[in-house]
Symmetry: D2
Subunit: 293 residues, 4 copies
């Protein structure tokens, strides 16, 4: 049967990425408290396509991902990309999966239990060193690793891995509080961080740090004593969207991430539009990527 | 050329609706202050299909709408549906268009000008009386009418017309205010009303009434003196989502609508989910439609 | 601490529904092949509010749902609503959860395995008979039941339960095929069915029936021999959106559902808008609900 | 009244961007055939914030945009950003507006008229040279310009302007056609291009070029003779998503754009996921931005 994709292309245009988008799959990821968590992902998978080939073979992306979907750790995610690059005879392989991540959180006074949803993204890029064989240097430490070790950046220059986490929070406006006789407008918002992976960390710890920076964290269940606590706590901790970004920036720096971006966006309760701020940090002088907003 | 749609179907299943969805078109609608307003609409158009026909003729929906898109008043909308029903030789014609509607609104203290966006929907259903000729009784009064008159419901039982308006507002929680030493959680939300059209009214008047029911209306531009006013005004006017529905319900009843629904939904600033309430009013004993939520 | 929600309201307006929307929770549902399936849900929960109460107690909705989220069968869903109505001292309780549901499906020729995503919704309404005690008549058979039995409609007039399933499919246009020398436009679309629950059934069986009505089912993985098969199969089975609705209608009638709606919508490949059709079936003369489109 | 935003911040963290997102405004843009077009925009506006200030003044963004919303040419868009930067005493100002753009297009055989919607984005960045005074070198040629001239890049290194256009198209799969006895799967998709602005061009011309690269353009209204033509035309012009990117790439290069990205994504009619490809072109050796996907 004819294989048009494999035929020669003469337009001399290499494609940076070609592949599949918006694939929906159940996945199993790591969980600090419960070891593993079942959730549902939206998946994008790509490879580069050299100028001389007409097309890629789309079915192979899903075939490789299907093998890995029941164990998506940070570690196995890069392995999966490496295998995808090999199967498609590519020089580079890219992947991004986004999934809701659930953490049980008790109300601050009553202790009533509830579950919060956060949105996580794993994004990776692998440059194949010798097409066809798995690189021995591709050994990033990851959540699956019992003994934390160094990440992909230092030992293996052939892979980069980013983790994004979106955390819903509330902010109370310092200006509104300062100029008003009583009250202060406050609102739901979110902080989104994206970190270049190098050393082992738990998603749960980053979320906790971000929630501690907010006027108040959010909860699924709040009884009246909790609502009083949360209301007063927010009033005592006013935060601009700019403050959210700066405090989370300091938090991530303290956690020793080498490169990250922080974004905050709040659904202003007095406007029908949002307030937004972002910052980027890079240990090295040539920032890898500017990707906020 | 063969016309399969027109061929006979033997499955004996009439279809309630068949047509086109998600058509994007520029439209011109009426405006209380500026006479007309240019905006952009998402359009759904349907007719019924008797059991003995295989299919409808999709191109005719757009052909008829194209004729009317530069003048979408409440009046011409029903005319358009009547013409669509005629062209498609149908017994019933349905249409729904949703569009952003813009109103200039000044800040409450400084008077700084800005524009607010509201979402409006026109939804109509016309039952054809004599297929092929336009019913003389289809004469609803509408925004285009210089002299308001009676609407479609009484004189012409062959048409029903609904108008929905979604208004962004803010609510400040009465419970949070009552139990806390200081502050109170507040948030953006919206009120959505859907009214059966009978007598002439201006969209602007319904929006004004709804905004007056909120803890505070929203604005595009607020200088510091405005922010102080709005913050204090909200603190003085706490509203549950239930209060929003009940106050707007009274407002619409006072405006003499014969049938309506009111929904309110608020993006709770202390949770990552929303609070919701709805109510329906019907002058007659057999409510036409339950359509909230 | 003051309980404002419990205070008296004098506006004399009962609310049909009040509660929480857009709650995100992990859930466990039943699965024909694997017994249970972990997935992620969006949850809306409401009760009615009598005219004389100021507000409902929002935290109780989540507290009750939290108890049940690890076992959402059709059966336990109504139990959950009954408990919610009791805890909130309401006359009626409503709930709707929507979740992706995954089924492994092999390619039609090569047998290559892949997973397909479908969207399911459980929607229930329970009328409390004696506030505070669980009705013994509330015993719908459900997917959890080993021995299928009669559903909620007949023995217990106090509960109604609906299941919706959205199935992606492809249609190839009969008109385009008939009038063209070669080729025919085809496209992705979906069929959405909503059934009133009465007797036990598997979601998997409804999905299979719907996919068999399409020009071709969709697959996650298709090798070249599969692509050839699927292309030719679609060309041999042209379907209008009207045909999809009518064939699925016959299929659901054969499965003995007492009330249902069928909708089909296709992302026409020659237009930037969609084609749509819907039909409703009711065994009784007073159709319960018109809810399509 | 206290101005907290203006107070000093000691965390020593500059913010790349701070401002407003998701502002909804009516706008007037240029139109090749009708001179101007009224449409509706979603607007994001930002400036940088030096490390020593606590916050920005959000109301000023909307105040400046309000002045310009009735005349958004490529030219005035940069002027608006320059004024925004000045009013906010910033070093850099950023803006992005996205709006539907409508073009009347006749059916290919019958000539039946209809309107197509495309999505356009203007994105600009202005670096202020002397805070407080408008730079005389900021004179990009733009659609408003009667005599096309050189753009912002060469004479004024202080501004960059990007235009994105998203065009819905259809592709027919070359592989499916080659391996099947009859038929070929085809589907709706879109091509999105983003160009660095330098010389004057009309959006309409880029759209025409992109539609000519597709298996077939899309239309709002197609009569049967048009449907036959479009079906056969698509069958005669099979295109992979990779082909779409490469042909549009050549088209943009021929139009002399100095930097651009091309993305194509198709809603595969045999899968429930999409196929995707992208490429980037840069005349200079240091590509400005990698922003596809």
């Amino acid at each position: 049967m004819r294989d048009i994709q494999n035929e020669e292309d003469t337009r001399e245009i290499p494609l940076q990425k070609v592949g599949v988008k918006n694939v929906k799959y159940p996945v199993q990821v790591l969980d600090k408290n419960k070891k593993t968590q079942n959730t549902t992902a939206t998946v994008n998978l790509f490879v580069n396509l050299p100028h001389n080939f007409k097309g890629t073979h789309m079915s192979r992306f899903i075939e490789v991902f299907h093998k890995y979907h029941t164990d998506i750790s940070m570690n196995s995610f890069l392995e999966m990309l490496e295998e995808m690059g090999t199967k498609l005879d590519a020089e580079r392989a890219f992947g991004r999966i986004t999934f809701p991540y659930y953490i049980e959180k008790n109300a601050p006074v009553s202790g009533a239990p509830g579950i919060m949803e956060y949105t996580c993204t794993y994004e990776g890029e692998v440059t194949m060193q010798n097409k066809g064989e798995v690189s021995p240097s591709l050994q990033p430490a990851a959540q699956s690793s019992a003994t934390p070790s160094n990440g992909p950046q230092t030992p293996a220059r052939n892979a980069r891995f980013f983790i994004s986490i979106k955390v819903p929070i509330a902010t109370l406006c310092p200006c509104s509080k300062a100029i008003s006789e009583y009250g202060a407008h406050n609102q739901r918002g979110y902080v989104k961080v994206k970190m270049l992976y190098s050393d082992f960390f738990w998603i749960e710890d980053v979320i906790k740090m971000i929630e501690d920076c907010a006027s108040t964290p959010l909860y699924s269940v709040l009884k009246r004593q909790d609502e009083k606590y949360v209301t007063e706590h927010a009033y005592e901790n006013p935060r601009f969207v700019e403050d959210m970004v700066r405090d989370v920036y300091l938090g991530l720096k303290n956690m020793n991430f080498q490169w990250f971006t922080v974004e905050a966006e709040t659904e202003e309760s007095i406007h029908n539009h949002n307030a937004y701020a972002c910052a980027e940090f890079s240990q090295s002088e040539n920032p890898a990527i500017k990707n906020a907003e």
